[in-house]
């Protein structure tokens, strides 16, 4: 019973892949001993399975939630807006329903639904009206800041997690009650299944579970013509040498550059009305400034002809885009909210869930690939849409029209009355001729700052857009209905074989998605690639705006005409011209060092940003080259002391290190590139066809030394540019 309750809680945490893995393991482990517990667990997971066949179910439940909240608001006479979606209500809603139905007693069904309504009502009222006062009472009672100090939770988290625990406890109590009813009598007796049954059920389970993929079978076009619809709110600048600061590196210039170098032909039109299905396969509309009736008609004609469109919007009616986007999308039943969607905790990591989809296979659970920043949530009024990516435990931070200075943003904090729960942020609609309309509430992932991180996701989206759906939607619906029926039948005829069947189905699904994710190729732009090694543990972070971030180094690679990639595996990537290894914290093994040196000897450049401490971890690379970086802290070389303003301005054109250490070489091959007071700080040598550069300061390539959010050190930018472009080769 306890496990059933915990399963419910885990389900609501939406840890998708691990969830399927662990649930499948539970089922398999208990396959030979069917108990009430198994039955409960299956019932708990059933809504999830159903959701997989019919992703639109979440939209339906959102409507019901919305309607119920509205009725509740009228009943209690509150002026506040109540949440439209709420914390895995969809799961519990269905869970309770199916448990009651399967018991086949109408009075239990009524009792279960009644109990559920009480909990749901309490939770909505609590989150919207009571969480704040209760928190104040707790703080006063204990004279400590209970929310922040002891629990480490803010109001949004308390409003989310406490009711969730309430649902969990209720689920456990319900499970106990059901257990008391001797549910076993409703279940078939235990029997051991045969090998044949095992294989058949495995095959059927696996096949059934792959049905949702039918929807996404798509034929891509590698030579597609892509057309941007321009807007005064966006620009297509790329990082340039005359601007400094990662945040000043332009908006969508790199997206355009990457699409061109990936083989697509790119054009621009000024308005949607100019979209011509004969000349363009994919339209990309970003923050449109105007949308007229003609634009709407042209856009509709474009989509109806089997072409695809990618529409990117932004938060809180920035520049009036909510109106234009709503005009564009309104006829299809979608609109942007006047909000920004924020997770109740600080980060988007683990706070979104995605459907199995060709372009979500590389996403993972952290925000690294999605690069969701501050964007709007999307309201759906039609079941034609698929909510591909939804934020979990996010709230819709209502915009503030008075906050003109800061783009109408709200207060970044959950307040009772704001939507709290699962909000769609990326949705898709497929048209009858196979074209796709993909709408994203945020533009961050496509911008210059983020594109090196999000490229695997972006190229998947673009490639998906270039193709058209093969299997008609009505076929998908029929197959999904059939699959649901078989699953339902399996659940209601609970026995060992069915358990194994469900388990195998789950495992097949999970493995299928894993296989697809691992083996679907990531397409990089053609040209010189610069790999930042993330396979080796290091001190750098891929988060933005931190001292240890490498956004500055990434932007400088773009400036110098190369394309930076983040390399997570040890497998070489084609066209890699330069490889950066920055401040490693674990030993690079001998075999990998050998592999790296081999690649260098074949023409790659290796740049090591290592200090006195981290050099010990690169010993397997440095030893064969007769080179050491001594653990002598030289500090921020060159040490200048206090200087006048003019001297400082001049100094900005010279290199400045943070935490330098001396390089000691016993080989004439090595050439000093930068030295200070007789200490060599940067040295280079040729190795086969390639070269190795050692920057003996593990912080030199970090944002804090090279280039941060608003500014950069010109001397370091120039030095890095010369290293990348090979100025020191001769």
């Amino acid at each position: 019973m306890l496990l059933a309750g915990i399963s419910f809680l885990v389900l609501n945490l939406q840890i998708q892949d691990n969830l399927y893995f662990s649930t499948a393991a539970v089922f398999l482990g208990s396959a030979l001993v069917p108990t009430t517990l198994q039955a409960m667990t299956i019932w708990v997971i059933f809504p999830k399975i159903l959701n997989r066949f019919f992703p639109q179910l979440s939209i339906l439940i959102e409507w019901i939630s919305n309607w119920f909240s509205h009725i509740l608001a009228l009943t209690i006479g509150s002026e506040i807006t109540l949440g439209s979606t709420f914390l895995g209500v969809q799961q519990l809603w269905l869970c309770v329903f199916f448990i009651a139905i399967s018991i086949r007693k109408i009075n239990y069904l009524v009792a279960a639904l009644g109990g559920f309504m009480v909990i749901w009502t309490s939770a909505i009222v609590y989150a919207n009206a009571l969480a704040d006062p209760w928190l104040a009472v707790l703080i006063n009672a204990f004279k400590v800041n209970v929310g922040i100090s002891v629990l480490g939770l803010g109001l949004g988290q308390i409003a989310s997690y406490f009711p969730l625990c309430g649902f969990g406890v209720a689920a456990i109590m319900f499970a106990l009650a059901v257990n008391k009813m001797q549910l076993g009598s409703f279940l078939p007796s235990v029997r051991i299944i045969s090998k044949r049954q095992l294989i058949v059920s495995a095959l059927i389970g696996g096949c059934l579970y792959l049905i949702p993929w039918l929807r996404y079978i798509n034929v891509v076009n590698d030579n597609a013509r892509i057309c941007f619809v321009d807007s005064k709110w966006i620009n297509f600048h790329s990082p340039a040498f005359d601007t400094k600061g990662v945040a000043n590196s332009g908006m969508f210039g790199l997206l355009e550059r990457a699409l061109v170098s990936s083989g697509y032909s790119v054009s621009h039109v000024s308005k949607a009305v100019e979209l011509d299905a004969e000349k363009c396969d994919v339209a990309i509309i970003i923050n449109p400034d105007t949308v007229s009736a003609d634009d709407q008609i042209a856009f509709d004609r474009f989509l109806s002809s089997g072409k695809s469109a990618l529409v990117l919007g932004d938060h809180t009616d920035l520049g009036g885009i909510k109106g234009t986007l709503d005009r564009l999308l309104g006829r299809y039943g979608a609109s942007f909210r006047f909000d920004s969607a924020f997770p109740v905790s600080a980060s988007w990591d683990w706070k979104f869930s995605s459907l199995l989809h060709p372009f979500t296979s590389h996403l993972g659970t952290s925000n690294e690939r999605l690069q969701q920043g501050t964007g709007a949530s999307i309201a759906l009024q039609s079941l034609d849409w698929l909510p591909i990516i939804s934020g979990n435990y996010v709230f819709s931070d209502a915009g503030n029209r008075l906050n003109k200075a800061d783009a109408y943003l709200g207060n970044y904090q959950y307040e009772p009355g704001e939507l709290l729960g699962n909000l769609p942020i990326l949705v898709e609609k497929t048209f009858s001729k196979g074209g796709h309309l993909i709408v994203f509430g945020d533009t961050s992932a496509f911008q210059n700052l983020a594109i090196a991180h999000s490229w695997p996701f972006i190229i998947s989206v673009i490639r998906y857009c270039t193709g058209s759906a093969v299997v008609p939607q009505w076929v998908v619906v029929i197959f999904s209905g059939l699959g649901s029926f078989i699953f339902l039948a399996a659940v209601f005829r609970m026995n060992s074989a069915n358990n194994v069947f469900i388990s195998i189905g789950l495992i097949a699904s999970m493995m299928g998605s894993q296989i697809i994710a691992k083996h679907s190729k990531i397409y990089y732009p053609k040209g010189d690639l610069v790999a930042f090694d993330l396979y080796t543990p290091s001190k750098i972070t891929l988060d933005h705006w931190r001292d240890r971030s490498i956004d500055g180094a990434i932007i400088n690679c773009f400036r110098n005409g190369t394309w930076p990639i983040l390399q997570y595996s040890s497998l070489p990537i084609e066209n890699t011209k330069i490889m950066f290894i920055i401040s490693p914290v674990a030993v690079i093994s001998q075999s990998r060092s050998k592999q790296i040196l081999e690649r260098v000897s074949n023409g790659m450049a290796l740049v090591l940003g290592i200090g006195g401490e981290s050099a010990t971890f690169c010993r397997n690379i440095l030893s064969p080259l007769n080179c050491q970086v001594k653990d002598i802290p030289l500090g921020p070389v060159p040490i200048r002391g206090s200087s006048s303003g003019n001297d400082f301005l001049l100094a900005r054109f010279q290199p400045q290190f943070s935490k330098a250490a001396p390089i000691i070489t016993n080989d004439t091959e090595w050439k000093d590139i930068y030295s200070w007071n007789g200490y060599s700080i940067i040295a280079q040598r040729r190795y086969g066809l390639g070269k190795i550069v050692i920057i003996a300061d593990d912080q030199f390539l970090w944002d804090k030394t090279l280039e941060a959010e608003k500014d950069g050190w010109q001397g370091n930018i120039n030095l890095l540019s010369r290293i990348i472009s090979g100025d020191f080769d001769e």
């Binding site: 002891v150 905790s345 659970t365 993330l534 543990p537 290091s538 802290p633 500090g635």
Partner: protein, 797 residues
């Protein structure tokens, strides 16, 4: 099953609550105390019930007596387990295995800077380096559970089964602690919520599942042993019990009693030859401003000179002077290394009975930790290359002393604020000051003064660390203190820092006969703990009330030793003839955080540190209250922004008695404040002074200015200068003493006079001149007209 489960749950709750109640990570509060008391009272109830019925089950007696003694025994973790931080890399490997099972990519390594075993955990945002240090395992709970396993063995009669039970429990606990660390890491990686590593609710919750495993183990082992009420143990077991207790008390004696030799009052040598920082001979007079004057050790030297003969070595190598002439040598903030000859001379000096006092600072500043460690490491001490801050507020720290035991030196330091120190490594039992709730980050040579980001990161350490320690070395002593800023002129008279300066040198200025032997035994007293455990396993302590009573007596013993430490170490006696005492209990002004450069701190109008320090510039000794317990009346008592609510009847009578007996008082106030007017009214009424307050409108504005008019014998000066300076001075004679009121005192606060180490503007300097005139007036060395002249000379910047 339940009867075996509850005791383990109680143990987790008590140990977890104790860890937080003792302030290891977060400030203690009453919730944690209830986590200790509730299970404790339940255990007391169960044990009483067992004794009352006299037919109880042996297991109930065992667990309830163990739980009763548990909180007392946990106290002994404070100076032992909680001070440990590093774990072997093999433990990090264990955590890595758990993480790998959970599907994470992880690599372990030893961080070359902090020497922590670390795990680098991969997620899509890069690698997260996380130190696998003891504090991440919840050491209180882990070692507490091991202790409980040991106590529960009292219920098992066969020694083989006792060994099996104890070591299997220990194994389970260690493995689970690795699971717990892995769980915390996943929580952190998923949420970026670093407090999840020390949040008490997370910590306790993550350990609850282990109680089921341990209960199963207990059930399997204990069942079938036969239940007997209060078994009579064989005679040999009783002897073993006595031996265990005796050993335990020896352990306490070695670590909690601090032997004090005979006071010799020998000469003190301050070494400036190796130090180009905290200079000992920089004058600090009325025109001394700026970094060199305020960061000097001049005031420190002068304070020591009031007790002992102090020489300064400015230009001679230490091996070239007769060190044996001195009893204490202070090696402070070296900025250049000691030669091998000097090192030999100093160590030989210490071995033959001399005392070395090593003063270092944070982050190997100017290389001082490197230079000091050459000597310190020989004696078992070590300055670590790091800096520290408050874990939850990132502010400077105050040491939280133990509520039962204090070192003779720390017993005189009720109120002490560190600026920023490093931490010390020291042998068991040699700690003097331990800071808790600290975050510690390793040196970062790329930052100014080598600080890090003054924010705790997951690859760093936190918890309790030693900041002052002392060991016997040969016939002498070596003492290390980790924050040399505490001796700087600008803050040497702050809070209890004068007591620290005097108590430390007084502690060293003694002859010890058996110090070396004591040190040898103390540093090996871990073996006694092992012996106690071994005897426990071989011959269990009889379960029952004897266990908690013994633990309670042990605590009383510690308390007694603390009292002995305190009473046998009074500070040297001296008269307060030049002392100026700031009465903090009656004042609303705050003791400054002197190195806080935030706008909020610089503009804090209730901070009067420069006013306070200016007494020192005139050659007086300004103290907050009376930290050195000086005899006699101080030359002047100062109250700033008097607080009416603080003046109780007894306090009022004392103040009145002091004034009438000849004590001089100056009260700095703003009469526009109702509370301050009330206070002045209370004092003057008690002194039978006739007066009234006057409310004057300023420049037709609604703002009003309050002043006081004394009817009778008094002197008064009102300054309302064109340059904007407005204040009022009234002096009244009461009995043999005097009361001076300075109304409009805010022109002398930090906002007006500037930061304490940086008074350079003309206006600030001219305001200091006004203050000097007021001080001289208080001592009848100046006149009101001089004050007025100085006030009119104040210039705007």
């Amino acid at each position: 099953m339940n009867r075996f489960l509850w005791p383990w749950l109680f143990a987790i709750l008590i140990a977890g609550s104790y860890e937080y109640f003792s302030g290891q990570y977060v400030p203690p509060n009453a919730i944690y105390l209830s986590g200790i008391l509730i299970p404790w009272f339940i255990a007391l109830f169960v044990l009483c019930k067992c004794y009352h019925r006299k037919v109880s089950n042996e297991w109930e007696v065992t667990w309830s007596s163990a739980i009763l003694s548990f909180p007392f025994l946990l106290y002994f973790f404070e100076r032992t387990i909680f001070l440990c931080h590093r774990l072997p890399i093999q433990y990090a490997d264990l955590v890595a295995i758990v993480l790998k099972i959970l599907g994470k990519s992880v690599v372990t390594y030893v961080d070359p800077l902090s020497m922590n075993a670390c795990a680098a955990v991969a997620d899509q945002a890069g690698w997260k380096s996380i130190s696998i240090a003891l504090e991440k395992t919840s050491p209180g709970i882990v070692v507490g559970l091991v202790l409980m396993a040991l106590l529960f063995t009292a219920n098992i009669k066969s020694w083989e089964r006792r060994f099996i039970f104890f070591f299997s429990c220990t194994g389970v606990i260690i493995v689970w602690s690795a699971v717990k660390v892995a769980g915390s890491i996943l929580l952190y990686v998923g949420t970026k919520w670093i407090a999840s590593f020390w949040n008490p609710i997370c910590e306790i919750a993550l350990f609850i599942p282990i109680s089921i495993l341990l209960a199963l183990l207990t059930k399997v082992t204990v069942t079938g042993q036969g239940a007997k009420a209060f078994p009579v143990l064989p005679q040999k077991f009783l002897k073993a019990n006595v031996l265990t207790l005796f050993t335990f008390f020896i352990f306490i004696l070695l670590n909690y009693y601090i032997p004090l030799g005979s006071r010799v009052n020998g000469k003190v040598l301050l070494d400036d030859f190796h130090s180009n920082w905290e200079w000992s001979k920089v004058d600090f007079g009325r025109d001394s401003y700026g970094e060199r004057a305020t960061y000097s050790a001049n005031a420190y030297r002068q304070l020591l000179q009031k007790y002992w003969t102090v020489d300064v070595n400015s230009n001679v190598s230490l091996d070239a002077i007769p060190l044996s002439d001195y009893k204490v040598i202070i090696l402070k903030t070296p900025t250049k290394p000691y030669s091998n000859k000097e090192k030999s001379a100093l160590l030989s000096y210490a071995r033959s009975g001399g005392s070395l006092y090593l003063l270092g600072d944070h982050t190997n500043l100017f290389g001082m930790s490197t230079y000091l460690n050459v000597i310190a490491k020989e004696s078992g001490l070590e300055f670590e290359f790091n800096d520290q801050f408050d874990l939850t507020t990132q502010d400077t720290t105050k040491p939280e002393y133990s509520f039962l035991w204090n070192h003779p030196i720390s017993s005189h330091l009720a109120r002490l604020t560190f600026l920023t120190s490093c931490t010390l490594k020291c042998p068991l039992g040699s700690d003097i000051i331990t800071g808790r709730g600290m975050g510690v980050e390793p040196v970062d040579y790329s930052h100014v003064h080598f600080f890090g980001n003054i924010k705790v990161d997951p690859d760093e350490n936190w918890g309790a660390f030693v900041q002052m320690a002392s060991v016997f070395y040969g016939k002498g002593q070596v003492m290390a203190f980790a924050d040399s800023t505490c001796i700087s002129t600008f803050c040497i008279y702050d809070d209890c820092k004068p007591s620290l300066a005097i108590a430390a040198v007084d502690f060293l200025n003694r002859n010890y006969v058996h110090g070396e032997v004591w040190q040898w035994m103390r540093s090996r007293s871990w073996w006694l703990v092992a012996l106690i455990g071994f005897v426990f396993l071989l011959a269990p302590i009889r379960p029952g009330i004897l266990v908690p009573v013994s633990a309670f007596v042990a605590i009383l013993f510690v308390l007694g030793l603390s009292n002995i430490n305190y009473t046998q170490f009074p500070l040297p006696i001296r008269f307060a003839n030049k002392a100026i005492c700031f009465d903090s209990s009656l004042s609303g002004a705050r003791i400054a955080r002197m190195l806080d450069n935030s706008n909020e701190a610089i503009n804090d109008d209730h901070v009067y540190d420069m006013w306070f320090l200016n007494f020192l510039r005139l050659g007086y000794e300004p103290y907050y209250d009376n930290p050195l317990r000086l005899d006699g009346f101080p030359k002047l008592r100062v109250i700033i922004h008097p607080q009416s609510a603080a003046l109780t009847e007894s306090r009022k009578q004392k103040l009145l008695h002091d004034i009438k007996s000849g004590q001089k008082y100056i009260i700095l106030c703003e009469l526009s404040s109702v509370s301050e007017r009330e206070m002045i009214e209370k004092i003057l009424t008690a002194c039978n002074v006739s007066f009234y307050f006057k409310d004057v409108l300023i420049d037709k504005a609604s703002e009003s200015s309050w002043s006081i008019v004394i009817n009778g014998d008094s002197e008064c000066l009102t300054v309302n200068a064109e340059n904007g300076e407005k204040f009022e001075i009234i002096r009244v004679k009461i009995g043999d003493g005097e009361l001076t009121l300075l109304n409009g005192c805010e022109i002398f606060n930090r906002k007006s006079l500037g930061p304490i180490y940086n008074a350079t503007t003309k206006r600030q300097r001219s305001l200091c001149e006004v203050e000097y005139a007021i001080i001289r007036y208080c001592f009848h060395d100046g006149s009101l007209s001089t004050i007025k002249e100085r006030a009119l000379e104040v210039v705007a910047d």
